[in-house]
Each structure stands twice: as structure tokens, then as C-alpha cells.
Subunit: 138 residues, 2 copies
DNA sequence: CCAATAAATGCACTTCCATTGCACTTTTTA
DNA sequence: TAAAAAGTGCAATGGAAGTGCATTTATTGG
């Protein structure tokens, strides 16, 4: 708990009660979370607060946003030392069509992509959809 | 014009006036189009018709849907012989952050992605964002 | 060609999620 | 301790996808 506070402070984010709780919640989950997930977990808090908390987290490199193609934005904590930069921290995301969960495969960096002459890459998003480990083992 | 009609018939899609026009419109564009783009081009037609036309086209392998991360669904004609199948026709898409246009890079197939044990891939989406050829050459 | 049937189209409405304006509360600063 | 800044809550907005149903248009069989 105390570590979370100092961590947030290091990231230039004031550790309010809500923020610490949200961080804790995300740290305990191994999967990416949607705003609605957090909303259900913290029924006392307003959605706007959660929304803005995630935005603040993102702006300060605490979480990264995930577009897994479902149309619902997901969020996950960034790895230690991650600065969400291209050719460096970009990992792929996996979305399970069975359990509907999305995970960061942080060990799987996105391969270098060759582009035609004149194209400049600034960001890459790679999402694999299929059946996750949990679901395929049933 | 006549070729479009027979093409659509080959794809088991009745070549109505609207459908032929929409196909023609997309064929003349080298970039992916949003529903709103077609809507602006054919102000006489209702959005639902356009929406359902694209859906019909997609179901019959005439167009493929593109999720370029903008939150707005784009559509583009499929290549001849494309059947939108994994490990075969999956190409990458490029979204320009300057001109906001999205293009199919059909020559650039998505590389094979290694997944952890237990994961089964069924679909892959790879979107590169950056500056397109047109915009970088200015 | 005509009636019956099927397909396509148009209009209105709904849903879902992201986002914002503004007032209020809590914390920080001087 | 008063003023300022930051955080929070409520209500409303906006954009885009999707659907139900009535109407129009095309197809088919007699
Ligand atoms: Mn991730
Ligand atoms: Mn494409
Ligand atoms: Zn699963
Ligand atoms: Zn461009």
C-alpha cells in the first residue's frame, strides 16, 4: 500500500485514496481491464473519476491503453521501465474469443515491420485473436 | 459498369443501382473508406442502406472491414482472389496521423507470430500508425 | 402481363461507450 | 488560515453502430 503511494509519487501522480485502490486493483489482475470492470469493482466511485484516473495514469506512463478490437478500451499496467516507445516496448496483445479476456504478452515484442518507401512508423498495434491458454486447456 | 454488375453477380450479390455505385466509388479510391465517407458521396441514399450494403459486401467477400484504431470502421475492396483467411491474405494496414487516411498494404503480409504454449490464433490485426508516403514527401 | 413473393431501401429509434461542462469537495500552498 | 489548485461527482452530450418496421422495388410463377 505504502509502496504504491511512493510509486505514484515517483510518477508525478498524487496518490489519492481512489488512485491507490485502482492501481492495486489493476496490479492484482493479470488481464487488461475495461473501465466498466473498475466501475463494477468500485461501485462507490463515479465513472468519470475512474475514467480520469486512467487518463492521468496513462499520461504519466503508469498504464497503457489497449485497443483489442472489441470496441471497448482496455487498460493494463506498464512494465517496470516501460516507456511505451516504438521499437522498444511495443508488445502484442491477445484477445480470447472464448472468455473475452485480453492479455498483454509483454515478452512478445512486435517484430520490425518493413514499410514501403516514404512511410514513417510512429506506432504499431498488433492484436491476435483466438483461444487463450486457459480456454484451450479445457 | 457492366463489369461491376457481373462481378457482383459472381459474388452472389444482386447488382442494384446503389450497390454498383458504391462498388464503383470504392474501386476508384485507393484508400479505405468510412461509412461517413460514402454517406457524403451519396447524400441521396440512407445511411442504413449504405451500412447494409457494406455488410452484404463483407459477407460475400467483396470488401473487408478495417479496424485502424481510430474507432471508426473502415472498408476496402478485397484483392482478386482474396478470401480474407488467416495465414494467407492477412495484410497490414497503415493509418496516417497527418492526413488521417488509412491504406491497405496488401503486399505486406502479417509475419507469423509466435505465441506462448496453449494459445491458438484465429485472427491477427496489425496496424501501423505514422506518416504516409504522400505526407512525408512534403 | 399480373398477382404473389422476396429482396432492398428508408425512417425512426435505440444502445453503447467515450467525453465534457460545471458545481462541489478536498488538498495544497503561501 | 485564506486563497488557489487539484480531485471528484453529477448530468448531459456526442459519435458511431445496430435494429424494427413500414414502404418500395425487383423477381418469379402462372
Ligand atoms: Mn499491453
Ligand atoms: Mn486491407
Ligand atoms: Zn480465454
Ligand atoms: Zn498522410
Amino acid at each position: 500500500m505504502k509502496e504504491i503511494e511512493t510509486f505514484l509519487e515517483d510518477k508525478k501522480v498524487r496518490p489519492t485514496a481512489m488512485r491507490v485502490l485502482i492501481y492495486k486493483y489493476m496490479a492484482e489482475k493479470e488481464i487488461a481491464v475495461a473501465l466498466a470492470d473498475i466501475e463494477n469493482a468500485f461501485t462507490k466511485a463515479d465513472r468519470t473519476t475512474l475514467y480520469r484516473t486512467l487518463k492521468t495514469f496513462e499520461e504519466n506512463g503508469i498504464v497503457h491503453q489497449i485497443d483489442d478490437g472489441t470496441g471497448i478500451t482496455k487498460y493494463a499496467l506498464c512494465d517496470k521501465g516501460c516507456n511505451c516507445e516504438i521499437e522498444q516496448d511495443l508488445h502484442l496483445h491477445f484477445h480470447c474469443l472464448n472468455c473475452n479476456e485480453t492479455v498483454c504478452l509483454t515478452k512478445h515484442k512486435i517484430p520490425h515491420i518493413n514499410l514501403p518507401e516514404g512511410y514513417l512508423a510512429e506506432d504499431v498495434n498488433l492484436v491476435v485473436k483466438g483461444i487463450c491458454e486457459k480456454c484451450s486447456g479445457q
